[in-house]
């Protein structure tokens, strides 16, 4: 049969396994359940770049169900090349509701709104890097 030809294509052990499965699966099916993937970091560089990721400010009306800083932290740490400073040492940002008047441009207000958070995180980062 055609499949047996395909099974020999690569001469790798798994293709033989797959071949058995292929023939077997003609017989029936199971209801599907989707597999979620879970990440586990297996290796990283010895001297990752320390980075302070301050939790994002979520002014009223913004979609606050997604924790942007958390996604960024997982991305960067997962790359094995960054070390995020402990989140509990990051300042919480308290921001008054913001109405943007420039939907497609740069933030309408100068970026001074986060200067306090920035000052805190710089201090935290310096403390952390000098103590490690």
């Amino acid at each position: 049969m055609n499949e047996s030809k395909g099974c020999n294509l690569l001469r790798q052990p798994h293709t033989l396994v797959r071949c058995g499965a292929m023939i077997a699966c003609l017989l029936g099916a199971m209801p599907a359940a989707r597999a979620e993937l879970q990440i586990e970091i297996t290796s990283g560089v010895r001297d990752p770049v320390p980075i302070a990721i301050v939790p994002f400010a979520h002014p009223e009306g913004a979609s606050s169900d997604l924790d942007v800083a958390d996604v960024v932290q997982h991305d960067l740490e997962g790359s094995g090349r960054f070390r995020a400073l402990p989140r509990e040492r990051m300042p919480a940002q308290r921001v008054a509701p913001i109405r943007s008047r420039a939907p497609h441009g740069r933030p309408s207000a100068p970026t001074t709104w986060w200067s306090a958070a920035l000052r805190h995180s710089i201090t935290a980062a310096r403390r952390s890097t000098s103590s490690s």
């Binding site: 030809k5 989707r34 597999a35 290796s43 002014p59 997604l66 939907p103 933030p107």
Partner: protein
Amino acid sequence: MVGRTAALDNGSQAVDFELVNTLTGARLATQRFTGPSGAMRNAAHRVSDVIYQKILGVRGAFATRIAYVGVQGEAPALHYQLIVADADGVNPHTVLESRFPLMSPAWSPDGQWLAYVSFETKHSAVYVQLVRSGERRQVSARAGVNGAPAWSPDGHKLALTLGGSGGNPDIYVLDLATQDLTRITDDPAIDTEPEWTPDGKSLFFTSDRAGSPQIYQIGVSPGARPKRLTFNGNYNARPRVSPDGSQLAMVTLENSNYRIAVQDLANGTVRVLSHGRLDESPSFAPNGATLIYSEREGSRGSLATVSTDGLTGLRLKASQGEVQEPAWGPFSP
């Protein structure tokens, strides 16, 4: 890094962020990403991409997608799924389900389509499918083997492994618009697993014409002759080229273990990157910095990544069933 999210007057959402060097105070990036609220996770990945680039000098590939095959159930009742997820494994969407094997997913260069092999007709056939809508079409169901689709860099052609019934597998190029089929290799050995060079002028492929599987390169012009590229050991297969064309990833046999290796195409240097027992199906991230591949941990298949310098790695384990044959999609515009 500091940032905020904001609701815009037009109903969409914004993510503003600023990246500052804490030693010098220098602003490395100030940027805004906007989109519907459902795209905020993607916006967050784009923030990661920028930070990665500003600090490491290489564009991040966090805001990209991967495709892979999920296998659920126990033999003899296996169930196959073609799944597309964010590069971090979040947001998995099943784009096709089948009681019959699904194999070899391959992204079109624009990230809109997947080509794959399905045995749903009880014989192998190659399909192309629009990821967004699920609309698909069968492009090759010739007698014998129809396998290993690879999109040309211009997205107009597929390289395929075809072998007529009683014939033996060779490499062909199928023009998707005209259906014209061009034979590239003609050898009594098994030729399979084609992969285009980034310039679209030649193909890498695996062949056992020298007695063991090795990787060759051949021009797609008529009368071209293949050139052997791999000479280390007696098993080198499944070539995948880095986006800049400088490195070739492959599966190599090292001390009875199948492992992912990269070969420098300029000087031939080979480095083995993975440490598993049965590592297969390497696929480059579009930034060329990382490879995703499948591995077998115990009896279960999972996915793993390794950086091309071999220093960093991740495992992506399925919560249930097995996952295999990952393909890393292109950068989105």
